[in-house]
Amino acid sequence: MTKYFGSLAIKHPDDLIFGYAPKPVSCGQGLTIGVGQVFPEINFTLPPMLINESNWNEVLSHYHNICENVLARAEKLRVPGIVMEFEHLPPMSMKPELGAEITSLIKNYLLEFYRRTGIPNALRVTVVDLRDADHPPLLRSGQRWEQTREAFILSAVAGADILSIESVGGKEVHDQALMYSDLSGIVASLGILACRDMGWLWDEIVDICKEYDVVPGGDTACGFSNTAMQMAGQGLLPATLSALVRAASAPRSLVAYEHGAIGPSKDCAYEGPIIKAITGVPISMEGKSSCCAHFSPLGNIAGAMADLWSNESVQNIKLLSGTAPEAFLELLAYDCRLFNIAENKNESRMYRDLLVRSDLEQSPEALMLEPQTVLRIARSIAQCPNPYTQTRNAIFTAFKSLQDAVDSNQLKLPSREQTWWSKIPGLLAQIPENENEAIEYLITTYHGVFNPQAYGL
């Protein structure tokens, strides 16, 4: 049941804007996302502590505490709606009953909150992709997959309103290709391996969602393009490479929607705007408000097209004001007020452009989120149905956009990126033109690193 998005859901850059999605999603307790307002999506995790049987009550009491504090603040600040994301930690997917117990704990708070305040809300549960634990991963079978699948089912039963995952198919190859700046390997691992796994995996997830009446949210290329961005942030890889990887990861994340996901996409998927342009689904994004979770070259621009605004993750620790989750809910709530007043006063386009321009010239990664560029990349992807070609097109288009910006002096590359920059055309030229050659390349160059059967190869 693959749907091919042959054209763009959003064709004009003016329409690519926060709060609006051509295909809104209704979910949870009275919440509709994508019809004008941006809502906070609050994320949280445990402080430094182990998770085991002896301290399970302590774990639960953290989640109680988080729900109480966050929802009290949300009420106080009169948010127009709220999404809570419960992201599993590994033991919670490994023993899915544990994840389910916390899911229903949070869901009960949300139900009560809705009854008391009438504020619409929803619960996203993100399961850990345990298949990563085998090297190379088996993906479509074995205990790891069984557990992951079970974690989805029990989360759905326990009350999740939206299901998501940060899936890892193709990452075993991508990790190495990235380190060696092997663009051919990057494109092949994303466009062939990752896309194939996504198709298989999301068929499974969408089936579960249908059975239990839950919204299939979407996936994120976190393990691919955020790893690249993190490493570029640490000065280990060029930022232009990280920008290229971002574009190249969009077709991979798109596959979820081709197989039935409907959004809202995952916050850490900065390829979200491209997905929104192609499919029209609402997206979750994180920017400066996720300074608690990671540093970023996309602090403001990430908000330009967001439908949910997230803090990615924050530990339940004490700050001078209160707990960190309530503090970051406050931050999100104020940012959302700004989005929403701008839309209310008919200034949303102007405000979006400020968000875009404030970061645009500061990093190659930011350029990948500029509305015109987003549409350019989206178009190059939508052009053809083959995921490998889509991925190859995306990286070429991204490079052209970077080149235009560099040539017009809009983007100034630091001197340390210059040598690498001059090598890119050569590396791009080496990328195999068609899927078969690319498979050939993968099998010879990354022999032993991945398991071809796991991808149906």
């Binding site: 430094p48 182990l50 380190m179 700046s181």
Partner: protein, 220 residues
């Protein structure tokens, strides 16, 4: 061009196309073979020919002048040279710097940081035993039992797994009180290191490499 510079540039052999400017010229392979032929002592080839190249690229990386890719390409060339020197390692004529046992703690599958540590320490002349991810206390202990002079490096990326470092340190100390244990990973800090009694925390592999270069008895 000297051996060190060729290592730094990652020029493997005459036939490799990288770097383009040196196409057709001799690489690390040829120069190492030549040096062996000239009966230059293997230890000298290593210490004065090859290692300075790795150090140079390592320093450039930590100063942000090159990228990890450049480092890896240099390491690849270095490995080719080390292949040539293998007989001298086996005969004991050269001594390796030593062994590092490396792994990501129990319950944690993040391994990119750990893999970088591996590559950089290998480039610096260490033998690395990579235990992979999701490594239990027992596995660390066992690895050190099999190689009692080894140094241990532990990585963790999750706040809910970093505490396993504490129990690993404890178990390792019980078995082998003199083992040096170093830790790293995004959530870890100097004060956490002190808390659990590890020997050092480094926010990046170069820190560890530099530290270990300082320890005199560990120098080649």
């Amino acid at each position: 061009m000297d051996l060190a510079r060729l290592v730094e540039l990652g020029k493997i052999d005459k036939n490799t196309p990288h770097p383009p400017a040196l196409i057709g010229q001799d690489g690390v392979l040829e120069l190492t073979q030549l040096a062996i032929k000239k009966e230059i002592k293997a230890q000298i080839i290593l210490n004065e020919g090859l290692m300075p190249g790795m150090h140079a690229i390592g320093e450039k990386l930590s100063r942000g002048e090159v990228f990890i890719t450049d480092m890896l390409i240099a390491a690849r060339a270095m490995n080719v040279a080390l292949g040539q020197l293998k007989p001298f390692f086996l005969s004991g004529e050269i001594q390796a710097k030593g062994t590092i046992v490396l792994g990501t703690v129990k319950g944690d599958l993040h391994d990119i940081g750990k893999n970088l540590v591996k590559m950089i320490m290998e480039g610096d002349g260490w033998e690395v035993k990579d235990l992979g991810t999701d490594v239990s206390e027992e596995q660390f202990v066992e690895a050190v039992n099999n190689s009692t002079d080894a140094i241990v490096g532990i990585s963790a990326l999750l706040t809910t797994t970093m505490l396993h470092m504490g129990s690993a340190v404890q178990r390792l100390r019980e078995n082998n009180p003199n083992t040096k244990i170093y830790i790293g990973g995004a959530p870890v800090s100097q004060s956490f290191c002190e808390e659990i009694g590890a020997d050092g925390y480094f926010s990046n592999p170069h820190g560890l490499a530099r530290e270990l270069r300082k320890a005199p008895k560990l120098l080649i």
